[in-house]
Amino acid sequence: MTKQVQQLERVIIRFAGDSGDGMQLTGDRFTAGTAEFGNDLSTLPNFPAEIRAPAGTLPGVSSFQLHFADHDILTPGDAPNVLVAMNPAALKANLSDLPRGADIIANTDEFTKRNLQKVGYAVSPLEDDSLAAWRIHSVPLTSLTVKALEGFALSKKDAERSKNMFALGLLSWLYHRPTEATIQFLETKFAKKPDIAKANIAAFQAGWNYGETTESFSVSYEVKPAKLAPGVYRNISGNQALAYGLIAASVQSKLPLFLGSYPITPASDILHELSKHKRFGIRTFQAEDEIAGVGAALGASFGGALGITTTSGPGVALKAETVGLAVTTELPLIVVDVQRAGPSTGMPTKTEQTDLLMAMYGRNGESPLPIIAPSTPSDCFDAAVEAARIAVKYRTPVMLLSDGYLANGSEPWKVPDAADLPDISTEFASGPNAEDGVTFLPFKRDSETLARPWAIPGTAGLEHRIGGIEKAEGTGNISYDPDNHDRMVRIRQAKIDGIAHDIPALEVDDPDGDARVLVLGWGSTYGPIAAAVRRIRKAGGKVAQAHLRHVNPLPANTGEVLRAYDKVLLPEINLGQLALLLRARFLVDIISYNRVRGLPFKAEELAGVIQDVIDSE
């Protein structure tokens, strides 16, 4: 049988199954193959907060979405072209996201009476008309896998476990993915259990062959490699990029990295990643709680390390008091907040942008600090280096606001050459700095940056004491003098505000230069906004786009940019937090678009919103 091959520009597939079905691994492997093939891509894992919710239930569904294309893309995609549903729960949980006409590959073996009941299907949807709008491929994935592995000395249960590899094989066939890397991967992963390795490889190949032979699939698809900028690429998730950025910052600042952290979803993987790289002189300290984590990081900073703490929303709340101490003692510190849905425990595995105002104001007293927000998974690398640059140069804690979407999402990353990374090293104080030539003044400032000297223990002659009580300008001695306090409050603010002159201007993307509507964003909404803007332009609309990475202080030209447009639309996954800051500062009537669903925006949704704003002009 010769099969038809169809060319596509882009495809969105979603693997969905039970938490125990290995969907994340399947997605990761498909991603790796796709990356190797040279498509541009973007991924969106989505999994429950429970380790393993009861099998077959809706809360137990875990999914992985991948968008790949022959051109550069910006998001993991709104609506899947293909859903792989490993059981009825996976079908039910994901169906509403599927556009009509999409393909559904359903593992019929799991559509048992019991499993159907678990999710409230009276009749199997594969057997009534309810799925008529979609193209159903009923595949008995489990039994095909078991059959394919008959020759292996495996229990049935063990054999069944490989069904995700069968599915991967089938999808790899369907989209012409290279297979060698996956085979190699399985060999390495199960190096100690060669039987398991072989079984998984066999399942994978069986899946491929099934596609090749079955009539259920008459067409396969090709998506040409994308024309990306030349260079060496790898696929990278936000958490990994962020961890690498921190390591790079340590190398480029020549400061030993000290991480004080307490595990919390979705930030834990940064701790995990950093703890692997002790060869870089990196110390990772799993503290007893978030307070101890940031405390230890600050203590290490006092000792001359690049002190870092990583956490998520509730953890940031706990660190507030110590971050305030860092503000007033003016020591470098990086506080990474991988935002997740709140308030309180909220929805730990879901994404959100709701911590911005906490990052700005969540401390007693006037305690300003810089805030930096990466815009894509790979941008987490650069944002981390930039956070370190500012922390070290200005002797200040810096908040790095990632989120659950960036953390777990991935995309191809053009790997930079270490030689091209900025030198962000600093000098420790080494001698007296007072006019008298003998005294050391720990709070005498650099006239340009307003940064104070960083004198670390072990430096003879610079012994000094710092603390959380208000300090006299210069000497740093305890001071309750009212005017000194007013001055210090203003100097601390001025130091942070001054960073505006040390960061790039806000760039506007407005190809024809005649748009009247500006869409502004910050952080992880970059992809969906940019994709929406593309759609508008493709349809002939005019819209300008700008994206803030430095959220505090804002680039010096921000006001100018905002005022240059009739309307400014600001989509945020919160109730309007950046909008509040911009409105207050520039008195510009920003139009907010807010949806707080624990999920990234969809490009289509935003395109609609943008169009509405344009139309209302």
Partner: protein, 354 residues
């Protein structure tokens, strides 16, 4: 100091073995700052400050390699008066901050100064975790059994029924015994001393400094404003020698009139010294790995102040956290060489375009 790995001095040995020695002989005045000391006249903190300032030169360390970290409280003002590096941090968090400092800088002698409220109330968790980790810290817990700085509320070491501003009808909660708590938290070094006995205080500090790992030293300290005479019994020349049981490794545990011995039921008990022969008296073994006997000794001061053990309850060797951490870093380098940034970034599956 210029790069990451240079800070990672691995090593083992005594508490000070990794701290550089001063080339010149320092004296007490070298450790005094120009800051006016701001405690109430008569406060026990003065005596402790003087004792520490006159003791530290003896360690022979470089002044710049000593750091005093404190929390908040009257006692936590201490670092301002020591001409070393100092960090007056926030309430209860000194052990955490000092942990980061000590873990990343094995070349420093790090001292934590804390009060009973600072360390046992808000900071209790950091304290017990520092103890189990055995970070190389010397923690001096100034126990005045009251909140001084906030003007006299009861603390976690105040006796039951304490009448204070926040407990006008008397406090309800049983106090911690800091020694018992520390031993329960796997402490490797635990001692108790008193502000008024400089010689004893300094002898305990000496042992604490030499111990590598976390040394907890409880110092009974008089707050003459809000809890005056809390330790009067131990200061009263008429009684103190009777009720003080000095713990000295290898020596029988006894006061002028009392002695500790094994009870018939296997526990330990205090009996009139005259009722036992010298060789029946329990001989102190601070180095015993099993902490049970040290724990039993910590319970001897109940009922309060009938007989109070002071000295080093427990001092056992265990690798310190910073050493272990440094060793892992070294091991990682030994096994696979120092980290290379390009290798790291390129690690995993890559592909080339163009």
């Amino acid at each position: 100091m210029s790069s990451g790995t240079e800070l990672s001095v691995p090593g083992t040995g005594g508490g000070l073995s990794l701290v550089p020695k001063s080339e010149v002989k320092l004296g007490m005045k070298d450790f005094k700052t120009d800051q006016e000391v701001r405690w109430c006249p008569g406060c026990g903190d003065y005596a402790i400050l003087a004792a520490v300032q006159s003791f530290v030169p003896e360690l022979g360390l470089k002044r710049e390699n000593m750091v005093f970290v404190s929390g908040i409280g009257c006692s936590s003002r201490f670092p301002y008066y020591m001409d070393t590096y100092g960090f007056h941090s926030i309430h209860g968090r000194a052990p955490a901050i000092a942990t980061g400092l000590a873990a990343s800088r094995p070349d420093l002698s790090v001292w934590v100064i804390t009060g009973d409220g600072d360390s046992l109330s808000i900071g209790g968790n950091h304290l017990i975790h520092a103890l189990r980790r055995n970070v190389n810290l010397n923690i001096l817990l100034f126990n005045n059994r009251i909140y001084g700085l906030t003007k006299g509320q009861y603390s976690p070491t105040s006796e039951v029924g304490k009448i204070t501003k926040s407990t006008p009808m008397g406090s309800l909660d049983k106090p911690f015994n800091p020694i018992s708590l520390a031993i329960g938290a796997e402490a490797s070094f635990v001692a108790r001393t008193i502000d008024s006995d400089r010689k004893h205080l300094q002898s305990v500090l000496r042992e604490a400094a030499e111990h590598r790992g976390t040394s907890l030293v409880e110092i009974y300290q008089n707050c003459n404003i809000f809890n005056d005479n809390a330790f009067e019994q131990l200061k009263d020349p008429e009684r103190r020698d009777d009720i003080t049981l000095r713990l000295e490794h290898g020596r029988p545990i006894a006061s002028a009139s009392k002695a500790v011995r094994r009870a018939a039921d296997g526990g330990i008990e205090v009996v009139p010294r005259s009722s036992v022969s010298e060789d029946e008296i329990l001989v102190h073994d601070a180095h015993r790995v099993d902490p049970s006997l040290a724990f039993a000794l910590s319970r001897l001061d109940e009922p309060a102040f009938e007989h109070v053990p002071i000295g080093v309850f427990r001092s056992v060797e265990r690798p310190s956290y910073d050493e272990l951490m440094a060793e892992q870093l070294q091991e990682a380098v030994d096994e696979r060489g120092p980290g290379d940034l390009n290798d790291l970034l390129l690690g995993g599956d890559t592909w080339r375009i163009g």
